[in-house]
């Protein structure tokens, strides 16, 4: 009898709350087995690092990178986070994971063994799988090279500080950070081509034109009712074409075209731009990334429990933590702070599993591609690989979940003195709720659309930026003119920002560095 209970005890991976590298490693192996064999996850090799709370604060303040160049703003964030942490206003994350190969995850030393197990499943498998397989990460980030690149960036900026002084480097970094959100390519990759190839292509093009030249084309009447574009217009069009305008990536544009920057300053812009681009996929996949990790840890720990490999106490602790992570207060709750990405992601993925295995008629109508296909693992893996938040929600948010979360759309029009409930969770509202929430997660819609549209390098060199104003939503006054000043610093000449309505094409507002200087 005694022997039997003992044997059962041995089956547990660990008991009690203290962790050791031994139990961690044993638990990791058990988790890995489920993750790889059962869920079919595909991950980068894992590197798990144990860190103290101070080191976690460090990692927080340098935007989660283990290596980061020095800048005062990181010091400021550290001070802020530390203050919040010391006051007890905010706890620290249990883990932090970096999209790199090998995939580095930081685990806090304060975590109990149960939390370490949870965190291993969450970060080392959930996030890791997502990083490795999602198309955005595959296309836009280079997990194998990022740490080396950060090493280079840190060293380069330190060297610049040595050579040119702290103040000069800080000035460039401040300006670059202000433009970080507008230092990414949203739709195309960095144009990169070896110069000799470019030349060859240009020659080829010219040859083709010569070969197919036909003087007859000249005699065709002009399309605009005979009105030839004026010489000035042609000039402007040519100029824009040469500079590849309009350009949405402000940092890229300044790096390549600013008349005043020295080469080390351009390199710093390049570094900041690279980092912004590296993080851009993460900004676009908050719901999916967290949802994926949460779903994975939830499945794995339940599986471990079913296999009798973790104790009930451990399970309770894990469930308590899990439920606080996916807690979604209602809109009128004091704790409401918007839709919780963990909750939305996790619920949607649970819902996909349900639709795959146990669909209702409604599901068959709304999600015909996956309803009842039985292979929820494959379906989820496919979703994780090929979507970002916006498309994922548009594709998979089911009426069932809309009802469960009791989602509704509130319309706010500046002209009215009231809000309107546009749609709720009913037959007529599903479409609109789904569309709206998907739009709210579309970074292209959320972030202001600002582009370089024109400049005259031979004239006054004034840089013209255009903000496309959508739905009458202007830029926040706070910081706008500050950022313009930063751009002016990088560009060296005056900068004009025009807000243009996206529908009417009217100029909504206009501001420039000359005016703000005069005002100040």
């Amino acid at each position: 009898m005694a022997k039997q209970t003992r044997k059962k005890k041995n089956a547990f991976l660990f008991e009690g709350s203290d962790w050791s590298f031994d139990t961690m490693s044993r638990t990791y192996d058990a988790i890995e087995e489920i993750a790889i064999k059962d869920l079919g996850l595909e991950v980068y090799p894992n590197q798990i690092e144990i860190i103290s709370s101070e080191q976690m604060l460090d990692a927080y303040s340098s935007i989660g990178m283990p290596l980061m160049y020095r800048h005062w703003s990181f010091g400021k964030h550290f001070v802020r986070e530390e203050q919040l942490y010391r006051k007890g206003a905010r706890g620290l994350a249990y883990e932090l994971v970096i999209n790199s190969n090998p995939c580095i995850s930081y685990h806090m030393e304060e975590n109990s063994m149960a939390m370490q197990a949870l965190v291993t499943a969450h970060a080392a498998f959930g996030h890791n799988h997502f990083f490795k397989n999602n198309y955005l990460f595959q296309q836009w980030t280079d997990a194998g090279a990022i740490l080396d690149y950060m090493e280079f960036a840190k060293g380069f900026i330190a060297k610049c500080e040595e050579r040119h002084g702290h103040a000069a480097v800080e000035e460039i970094l401040d300006a670059a950070h202000a433009l970080m959100d507008h230092g990414v390519f949203r739709y195309r990759r960095t144009p990169r081509g070896a110069p000799h190839k470019e030349k060859a292509r240009a020659r080829e093009r010219q040859e083709y034109e010569e070969r197919t030249f036909n003087d007859l084309w000249r005699t065709l009447p002009s399309p605009k009712g005979g009105v030839e574009p004026s010489e000035a217009e042609v000039e402007i069009a040519k100029r824009k074409k040469n500079l590849r305008l309009p350009e949405e990536n402000l940092l890229y544009f300044l790096e390549k075209n600013s008349p005043v920057l020295e080469s080390w300053q351009r390199e710093i812009l390049h570094i900041v731009r690279k980092i912004a681009q590296y993080f851009y996929p993460q900004k676009q996949t908050k719901v999916m990334n967290e949802g994926c990790a949460t779903f994975v840890h939830h499945y794995i720990v339940n599986e471990l429990y079913d296999q009798g490999r973790i104790t009930e106490g451990t399970m309770l602790e894990i469930l308590h933590s899990h439920s606080s992570v996916v807690f979604q207060p209602a809109f009128d709750d004091r704790r409401y702070g918007g839709i919780n990405p963990y909750a939305l992601g996790f619920e949607m993925m649970q819902d996909i599993r349900r639709v795959c295995t146990d669909p209702t008629d409604e599901d068959r109508e709304w999600l015909p591609e996956i309803a009842g296909n039985g292979d929820w693992r494959g379906t989820l893996r496919d979703a994780w690989a090929n979507h970002r938040d916006e498309s994922f929600i548009q594709q998979y948010l089911s009426p069932h979940l809309i009802r469960k979360m009791r989602l509704f759309v509130l319309s706010d029009n500046e002209k009215d003195d009231h809000y309107t409930v546009a749609s709720i969770h009913d037959e007529r509202g599903y479409e609109n709720v789904r569309r709206t929430i998907s739009k709210n997660y579309d970074l292209g819609m959320v972030e202001p659309n600002i582009q370089v549209v024109d400049l005259d390098l031979r004239g006054d060199r004034q840089l013209c930026l255009q903000h496309t104003v959508r739905d009458g939503i202007a830029l926040a006054d706070k910081g706008r003119d500050e950022v313009l000043k930063h751009i002016r610093r990088l560009w060296g000449y005056d900068v004009v920002l025009r807000g243009v309505d996206n529908l009417t094409g009217e100029t909504v507002y206009r501001t420039s560095t000359t005016e703000t200087d005069a005002a100040a």
Binding site: K76, A178, I424
Partner: protein
């Protein structure tokens, strides 16, 4: 099996240099905040961890962001209870209300002040940034030097306590090898052979001859051992020490105060703040600081701090007694070649008639040559302050001290009437000598 790495033992303060960059960035504002806090708050709690709050201006990180107000926007919320499509909700009068939701809060950095804690070092660094000990010729002349022995190689002579055993044995060993000093082992072998032969039964010729040879060899070896000793005086090395000059790091601060009836609680409180500030400053400069409290009425005595500030005393006022007492203490305990002497005197300006002249004479002849610095603060009544602030006339003591101030650069006299006066006065007393940098800064601002 993953790669586990324990990072907990990595060096701490990875972000320290970021913090320093941040402090440098916020320097101007931090200084304003600190100056204000020193003025408002009791100076007694200046010397500790300081929570400062800095306005976000200047340390903001601007971004282009969509406004959280205006325009037309749709937002999704959770947990609908009673709404149906088409319902209208009136907007709250101010702010974004529930419509704005999180976005309003997320919209910016937050305009509140940014609050955080400075370490004691960081605080004092900022606090004393442009305060510097008066750069006086006399300070340099009187810069007292102490000497400290420092190891510097080896020497062949010295005290037995300084023998360097390792080096000595090293020399001895090489000499013994070079001169072929017979080893104990060889001697023992020969002695053993002799004993063997003696015990041996066959006493033939060869044995006797062998015996003689061995005896001879033994005496030769023994003689050689005597000639080549184990340790010779020429082997011995001593540790050599050099006297290294060290700037003196000790200071004594004399607090002199009039405690006669005319000095009320308010006056004493002001004086105390002045002393504390001076002490704080000296603490930055010297490793060891002694404080001597001397109070006086018509007679002076050295007392402890509590008595100094809090016990009441009645009597007349004779300031020169305090100077005499101070001199006594200096001669007795604080030789000037070891101690930097600072004196701070607080008084309401009353003095026994004729004594002020005596004070000035004493200062001129004896006290000032001893002191690095002598500061006198006169504590005025609020009502008097306006009358006296600008003019040169005042109490007898004040007028007399004005004379002393003219002849000694390291003598300063100031008048204060409110707690907030102390800090500016203190700054004036210890302000950097190179005012030029300051004024150019002001001109730019």
């Amino acid at each position: 099996m993953p790669n586990f790495i324990d990072r907990r033992l990595n060096p701490k303060d990875k972000s320290l240099s970021n913090r320093q960059r941040f402090l440098r960035r916020a320097r101007a504002q931090l200084k304003n905040v600190i100056n204000q806090s020193v003025k408002d708050r009791g100076i007694a709690d200046v010397d500790g961890r300081q929570v400062v709050s800095v306005p976000t201006r200047g340390i903001g990180e601007p971004r282009f962001q969509s406004s959280s107000k205006g325009g037309k926007r749709d937002q999704v919320f959770t947990g609908n209870k009673e709404f149906s499509a088409g319902d209208r909700l009136s907007k709250p009068k101010q702010g974004a209300g529930s419509g704005g939701g999180k976005d309003a809060a997320d919209g910016g950095e937050g305009t509140d002040d940014f609050e955080f804690t400075l370490s004691r070092e960081e605080f004092l660094e900022l606090f004393f940034e442009d305060l510097e000990l008066p750069d006086l010729v006399k300070t340099n002349l009187k810069e007292v030097i102490a000497f400290k022995p420092r190891r510097a190689g080896y020497t062949v002579s010295g005290a037995p306590t300084n023998i360097n055993v390792l080096r000595t044995m090293h020399n001895s060993f090489s000499r013994r090898i070079a001169l072929h000093r017979p080893k104990q082992r060889d001697l023992d072998a020969i002695v053993a052979q002799i004993e063997e032969l003696e015990r041996g039964s066959d006493q033939d010729d060869t044995a006797t001859q062998r015996m003689a040879e061995l005896q001879e060899e033994l005496t030769r070896l023994l003689r050689k051992r005597k000639v080549v000793p184990f340790i010779d005086p020429i082997d011995i090395r001593f540790n050599r020490f050099e006297r290294q000059a060290l700037p003196n790091t000790k200071a004594v601060m004399f607090c002199l105060m009039d405690v006669s009836g005319s000095m009320g609680e308010r006056e004493k409180e002001l004086a105390k703040r002045f002393f504390i500030l001076l002490h704080l400053f000296l603490k930055r400069r010297y490793d060891k600081i002694d404080i001597v409290f001397i109070r006086h009425t018509h007679e002076a005595q050295e007392v402890d701090e509590d008595t100094f500030f809090y016990s009441r005393e009645t009597g007349g006022t004779v300031v020169s007694t305090a100077l005499e007492e101070m001199l006594r203490v200096v001669y007795e305990r604080y030789p000037t070649q070891e101690w930097n002497i600072y004196a701070a005197q607080a008084s309401d300006g009353d003095n026994f008639s004729g004594d002020s002249e005596k004070c000035v004479r004493m200062l001129d002849e004896i006290v000032m040559p001893l002191c690095q610095y002598y500061a006198y603060v006169e504590i005025l009544d609020d009502r008097e302050a306006d009358i006296f602030k600008s003019s040169d006339n005042g109490t007898a003591l004040w007028r007399a001290y004005q004379e002393a101030g003219k002849s000694w650069d390291n003598f300063q006299a100031k008048r204060i009437s409110r707690p907030s006066d102390i800090y500016p006065v203190f700054r004036e007393l210890f302000a950097k000598q190179n005012k030029s940098a300051d004024t150019s800064g002001k001109a730019r601002a």
